[in-house]
Symmetry: C3
Subunit: 203 residues, 3 copies
């Protein structure tokens, strides 16, 4: 059951980030292979950086051909059905936010399994959730969105703190995961919907 | 003999990518040390990313001072004789394409030695061939060429598929390597000469 | 005593690079979390790349919560007291140069402990000293300063060569470290003060 949960989390997160990468690359008018590469990098970037930092190699996607196939089919699907999918822009944003929650929890859990300190585990979760998008934006030569507007990372860190609060309160582990995923998912939607930003610093 | 082949492949590939890095950096008017760093990064970038993903550390160039010396002398040579070398722009392009073939086969072979799935090995070969150029272009602050025009990666992936086709047909391993190197080399020249591109996607 | 020296070196270097990252990010008008991330990346970037290349994982900052806390408090302090600190621009530059010397020696020493060749150890020292700034500038979407003006890397390499010269002359190890740190510190100040640059290459 627990394994099942993690797998479902991984698959859903991979699909949504592959979609986000595909659409970003299409906006920059890359050719189809460029799009595939960006989709791939966006979907596996966070987990790869996490595994490299932990020294858990060969990294996850190399040991699991299934992840690669999911990204390939998601990206091809998004290219082929781009007109229809564009109408579902809201759906896509929901998937992206869900992916952020899913990947943050995966990274956080992996850090705990490696016996690292809470602050480090929250950082690992944040890295897992956010780094795919950072690499994507860096390769596409824009200042990563994460440093500009959406307080992406802040949401992940808040989710990480909630995780430890619930663990401290002895809540059941599977329940904690679901609550934290839902929390990040909803918090991100609120943040984007009401255009909340952290205050800029003025000189 | 087989070891000899791999070493010759590595040396030739290193030289050509060091040259490509040196010339890119000179175009951006970096100072001599900046040029050396870009030459170094271009030549070892692909292999380093490959070794990091596999967890085969310390990475190859750290265990082998020879690679560093080759890059150093190639880059200094290219700087000193830049007028003459510029006339050989075609020669350089040929070397670069040869390097792509050589490094792709090296990466693919290393993935096979680690017992990874065919799709992953093709990805590893492509990474080994292309990543030096991606890092170079990212550091020089341009959208990597690979995502723009030359369908670099496509050529590597085609070469990887040919490798497995020939292996399936029980062709001799050394022969396979030479054929795939030649295939990537020639295919890339054709692609650039006739300005073949993958079709852009239109909204 | 020797352990104490290394720890003091690490702490001082971390503080100065965290400050440099904080100020770079504030210049680009990032929000507070963006600033924290850039400060973090600048301070741990060099050591992280070094540990990844060596395969010494989980990387240093994951095993040592203290480093993270130092960066956090330094960055928050720099944000809060920005008016006062800006008056100390010279102080900051001195800290940054000191950090460069400190981290270069740390990286060089770690390479020696891993039994690597001198040329590789000098490269490792240079990477440890410079890579935080390279990643920072790449994320902030500018051509890294290191490739443009300040011959940052050259100073590190000169320091590395001095290290081996002194070791060849059988100077005491702690004394070597202090001399090399001071050498890089002073050389960088001279280089910046007198606007020394490596000659640009002209076509």
């Amino acid at each position: 059951m627990n394994l099942g949960t993690s797998e479902v989390i991984t698959i859903l997160g991979t699909i949504s980030f592959a979609m986000s990468g595909t659409f970003s690359a299409m906006q920059k008018r890359l050719d189809p292979f460029g799009i595939l590469i960006i989709a791939f990098v966006t979907a596996i970037g966070g987990g790869t950086v996490r595994d490299l930092l932990l020294g858990d190699t060969p990294v996850a996607w190399m040991r699991d051909i299934q992840t690669c196939l999911i990204i390939l089919f998601t990206s091809i699907g998004a290219i082929l059905f781009k007109t229809q999918v564009k109408k579902f822009k809201v759906t896509l944003f929901l998937f992206d936010s869900l992916g952020l929650g899913l990947f943050t929890v995966l990274g956080l859990q992996k850090g705990i399994n490696f016996g690292l300190a809470p602050g480090i585990c929250i950082a690992l979760g944040t890295i897992t959730g956010c780094f795919g998008g950072i690499i994507r934006d860096t390769l596409l030569n824009t200042i990563p969105l994460i440093f500009r507007k959406e307080i992406y990372a802040t949401v992940c860190i808040a989710g990480g703190l909630l995780y430890y609060l619930l663990a401290f309160l002895k809540v059941d582990l599977t329940l904690i995961k679901l609550i934290v995923i839902a929390f990040i998912f909803v918090l991100r939607i609120i943040v984007v919907k009401y255009k909340l930003t952290l205050p800029k610093l003025v000189y």
